[in-house]
Symmetry: C2
Subunit: 549 residues, 2 copies
């Protein structure tokens, strides 16, 4: 069986000009990055955003992730390919991969099997440089803060809250001590967790980008007042660093479907959606836009709705929930080693996780839902039949997908179901009213979506709750918690009961326009595993990479 990179390297890619032509775009609308990657020019993006929305927006989300794998990205790609194969005009809208996981445990983020984005090596490594631009803008601001203090310039800092970032899994940088110009503790987050990444993904245009960058809070003065990036005149230079990156990237799937891949906050420690600019652009270029929200629906879909849709006014027309037999059995108590063995009773138990996510999407967000069952060869007919009838009894439909093995042809029934359902009128809603207090927002999310009995605050968070009472008014909350559980305890599978959402820390992301609530022992800088994926990667004399996954 071929590895993902072998399949990707064996593919014959179409010139990106031809992919663009499918979308009605001319060569002048593109900045090329080689023959197979391009950015849409800012002028083209600005022009398109003046046009009315044409596409139905389909939100791809999933059950709570497990080590058994679900395949949300492959299903996004497979569905897009299937829609195009069936004659609909579809465009995928995805996040860019972070290099942290590429060299760590998870690997890349361009799909797998016959449902991949290509050129996979480039997209997984640097791509068009967007994350590096975000890193550079973030770290220029940090340098300007310390430099201001060093030179004894006008602002008197009492607290420096701005952290540096890097697109790497480097545990040792989580907490560092700076020795000059003053001695203080700080650290690095992974770039996908940076507020600059969030701003990049939520800004409507270059002017809004500059405005949001300027209102980043970097610290508190000795008079107790907030200090902003604009106080350091940083926002212009930061925008200059970001302006090329801010243009959405166009690539293709193995079957030649177009995909806009742009921005990439993680959904556990950040807000989890590709850039608003890419989504807004996509909605003018196709009839169906399939967009992925990271991790499970409790994280990705919630933030997609309550942050991205709230700020932009966008609303999806429906949601697809991805599940696998293996993962549902895992939620039902089966260990990873045994997920390939038929186990109907464990499956019955684990289906509660799927039902909870479907209920959440329908009841709390008003979204029509279908289920995509990402099929694995070990799945038995009895298992599939069990889920299928359960999903039907919940008033939804389940579609078996074999895009991993068969590309778009493997997801045609899903495509037809989606194309039909997305045309039905829906009344999507947001979960909470922005006028609620921060505590009330947190409680609403925890109780309605996570099934928690309450929200608790650690000492630091309790102080911050008080301190941020005014500044957090009217801002949605971005919960940073584990993706592996509906609770904030990684080990609680399926649908935990009796748990509380414990908030350890609150961080105001004033430029992004939300408050981050760090729950449990969540880290905003991952570490590498004992045997990092990097040790298996090599390059031959012609530049061909092997070992990347």
């Amino acid at each position: 069986m071929l590895s993902d990179i072998e399949i990707a390297q064996a593919a014959t890619l179409q010139p990106i000009y031809d992919i663009a032509r499918q979308l009605g775009l001319a060569p002048a609308d593109l900045h090329l990055y080689g023959n197979h990657m391009a950015k849409l020019t800012q002028a083209t993006v600005n022009h398109l955003h003046q046009q009315p929305i044409r596409a139905k927006l389909i939100l791809m989300t999933a059950i709570s992730p497990t080590p058994a794998g679900e395949g949300k990205t492959t299903t996004t790609i497979g569905l897009t390919d299937a829609l195009n194969k069936a004659g609909y005009h579809a465009l995928a809208c995805l996040r860019e991969p972070s290099m942290g996981p590429v060299f760590g445990m998870k690997g890349g983020a361009t799909g797998g099997g016959y449902a991949q984005l290509v050129p996979m090596e480039n997209i997984n490594l640097h791509f068009t440089g967007d994350f590096h631009a975000i890193t550079a803008a973030n770290n220029l601001l940090a340098a300007l803060v310390d430099n201001h203090i060093y030179h004894g310039n006008a602002l008197q800092f009492d607290t420096i809250s701005w952290r540096r970032c890097m697109d790497v899994n480097d545990r040792a940088l989580r907490r560092i001590t700076i020795n000059q110009p003053i001695f203080y503790d700080t650290g690095f987050d992974i770039t996908v967790a940076s507020e600059v990444m969030a701003i990049f993904c939520l800004a409507t245009d270059l002017a809004d980008l500059t405005h949001r960058l300027g209102r980043i809070q970097v610290g508190i003065s000795s008079q107790g007042t907030p200090i902003y990036a604009s106080d350091l005149q940083a926002e212009g230079a930061m925008t200059a660093l970001l302006k090329e990156a801010f243009q959405p990237n166009l690539v293709q799937t193995l079957e030649g479907s177009p995909a806009l891949v742009h921005g990439g906050p993680f959904a556990n420690i950040a807000h989890g959606c590709n850039s608003l600019v890419a989504t807004q652009t996509a909605l003018r270029l196709a009839d169906y836009v399939v967009t992925e929200a990271g991790f499970g629906a409790d994280l990705g879909a919630e933030k997609f709705m309550d942050i991205k849709c709230r700020q932009s006014g966008l609303r999806p027309d429906m949601a697809v929930v991805v599940a696998t037999v293996r993962a549902l059995k895992y939620h039902g108590g089966v260990e990873v080693a045994d997920v390939n063995t038929e186990n109907l009773s464990a499956l019955s138990v684990g289906m509660a996780n799927l039902k909870k996510h479907i209920d959440n999407l329908r009841q709390h967000f008003g979204l029509p839902v279908v289920v995509a069952l990402n099929h694995f060869t070990a799945d038995t007919d009895a298992e599939v039949a069990l889920i299928q009838s359960a999903v039907a009894s919940w008033g939804s439909s389940l579609h078996i997908c074999r895009h991993w093995a068969a590309g778009g042809a493997g997801a045609l029934t899903l495509a037809h179901a989606v194309a039909t359902l997305a045309q039905q009128p829906a009344t999507p809603t947001l979960l909470y009213d922005n006028a609620l207090s921060l505590t009330e927002k947190l409680r609403t999310i925890a109780q309605s979506l996570y099934g928690a009995k309450d929200v608790t605050f650690g000492e630091q968070a309790a102080q911050q709750l008080h301190a941020l009472a005014e500044a957090s008014q009217g801002l949605p909350v971005c919960i940073a918690k584990t993706q592996y559980s509906l609770s904030c305890d990684t080990k609680l599978r399926n649908v935990p009961v009796g748990h509380s959402l414990h908030v350890r820390e609150l961080r105001l992301s004033r430029g992004a326009g939300f408050v981050v609530a760090v729950c449990g022992d969540m880290m905003t800088m991952p570490g590498l595993p004992k045997q990092p994926a990097s040790s298996r990667i090599s390059v031959d004399a012609n530049g061909r990479i092997s070992g990347l996954s």
Copy 2:
């Protein structure tokens, strides 16, 4: 008078395909980055390197830099334009700008006036992402070191010597304390000072790149033996991060001359030359290749010869030394505020600096030399005549250049002189024999080139000299010292006498194949000035930058 960025933005650029065609390259030889920047594909580079060298190689160097400005990059560009205007086939080979100075004091590094590389904003900001790739490779290795220790893997570290890097002027990162997995002091260097940058610029091909990366020494084990990047299986993944970047970048001058701009170590804290791959490629694509070595000839030209030429076997055919009346008056004791006032006596004194550099290049490197006088409007006829006759009396020739104001047309006499002289047979030599001890190499450079009476070692350097005695055998030395003086004291202008070269620290760059000698209080991470250039930069709604210089 228009600013550099206004001149650059007003220019009509040629499609990069047309620039490539001048060099005999076809569209298939290029990876485009928009319409005006491209990388030569690895296959094209590999193929060209099989061909015989066709071009004469002209080394552009300068007197000791001053705050009055010399204009080495503008002269490299102006000379290339002039050679092409005169019907010679010329190609410039330059370093990529670092973003540290762009937001700090110096500004960009794409020339000025009517002798500029374009698109200047892109080249100065991110360009094709090469420096970010180098940063990522450097920092992946750092993460792998700490991760190895965290997981208690096989290697036992006593000392971690590998530092992180970033392409920013961030003084606060010079010395940081890491708190986990173990408590230790380390820091960040600016990316242009990283050993990975040096390796990138000295590697002959991808296989050599991988090999050199693997032999980077990252620390010492508790058994006292060196630990290498290859012990962490890091070199394959690092090469994967660098493989796109490793392909040379093609851009154009305002007059449409081709330029390969690739790699960019500073010449004060690193070895100061563009990539070997770019130079080797350039020598197969034109009849004259003009390449710049950073800062004054004591630093840039010395390292060009003793490191790059020594390792590669390349030899230049001649050198051009850039000087200005203003800078020579500054060396003669005039302050910056007064350099526009005629002062023949100060000029006479300051010409000693020019003479010393010419003598060094001729006597110690066997290079034919001409002088390019980069003309400023305040220069008087008497001043120009004084230098002209002096240079003639030294057996060389001086050519007045007005490329800053007039482009290639302003440097035609220099072009004809260079085209003639480069055809004469020359016998370039290296300064020292590699079999000498490290101390003897340092003494040779200090006494022959810098006019120092001796070399002294600080306590740390003395210990390292002993510890590195074996490992440094057969390796050239890379001196990190101020560019502003032939000595290692920034304040000593012109031709200092009676000074010693004080070595503070020695660092083995085993992958790059040299030993770095840090002299004086040299920093490998610059800081920003009191009023950083970043505060003047802004971007309009269409993405047009202003304030970049």
